[in-house]
Symmetry: C2
Subunit: 141 residues, 2 copies
DNA sequence: CTTAAAGTCTCTAGTGACTAGAGGTTCAAG
DNA sequence: CTTGAACCTCTAGTCACTAGAGACTTTAAG
């Protein structure tokens, strides 16, 4: 294990593109690392841990402000974990709402596509349904 | 029924914000209407129909390039309906993929939140799990 | 030690589908 | 004729990056 990582090495270790790393630094999510004499970034294992935290939270759909809060709570006193829980709960609700919306979309799309029968009658409901909201279930947003 | 609608009237009839209507015109999805002497837009029922088509397709998650294609197919010869079907099928696949992804997220979030028990032991897994990918199922993107 | 290639630097602009606001003009009702 | 709501254009901001230009640094080979 080397003492320091270049941004390219960190990129591979954390599975995160190079410009994205710089962008997290810019936004204050990843601490600015030391630089070489030639001004290149050199990262430590702590940076790697932090970056993985960010990437994992992103993969779960948390947005950057939420991740910043979660980071601040990390390493704080016990009561703050309830705040982390609240953030996660709220996000879970969002995710469930999105799933419900997408399922409504899915149902309508299926109905629309199944209504088509251009093989035998050149009848296609897609364009009709899109043109007239009354023709569909009408339960989407 | 009036002969022409102002942009504000169209906005209410199609449940679409005024700047959004102008924006669709800018992008070529909604034809430019005639103007009054004072340069204000005046729309017909055809515009209303088109705008409702767009809004309905957007509500179903189609993106603007797809909507433009669907519009072009509308009123074309019969074979083009198969193309409309293809676009809808493709979109349906996207929607189903998103649902699957969100469900994976949901499962991991639930596991994370349920692991918490700060009431009795001040133990919270959220920050730990986010920090160490090995602690979760690890099946997300 | 030299050189070439790969990596890195900063900065700007673009993505999608809008939304918000500034500053000015026109319309419709009373 | 006045007033105020609605309308006009144009610019900039949203989110989380991604792409590219043009210049500089590092590293490995010879």
């Amino acid at each position: 294990m080397s003492e320091f990582y270049s941004i390219g090495q960190l990129s591979k270790l954390a599975d995160c593109k190079v410009p994205t790393i710089r962008w997290y630094e810019d936004k204050g999510l990843l601490p600015a690392p030391t630089r070489t004499e030639g001004n290149q970034r050199r990262y430590t294992d702590r940076h790697l841990t932090t970056l993985r935290f960010i990437r994992h939270a992103r993969a779960l759909g948390f947005d950057l402000p939420a991740i910043e809060k979660l980071q601040q709570l990390n390493g704080c006193c016990y009561g703050d974990h309830m705040e982390a829980d609240r953030i996660a709960q709220e996000h879970l609700d969002d995710v469930r709402n999105k799933i419900a919306q997408l399922k409504a979309m899915e149902a309508e799309l299926v109905a629309m596509i199944e209504g088509c029968d251009y093989e035998h009658s050149y009848k296609c409901r897609i364009l009709d349904v899109l043109g007239d909201h009354e023709l569909c279930g009408g339960e989407h947003k």
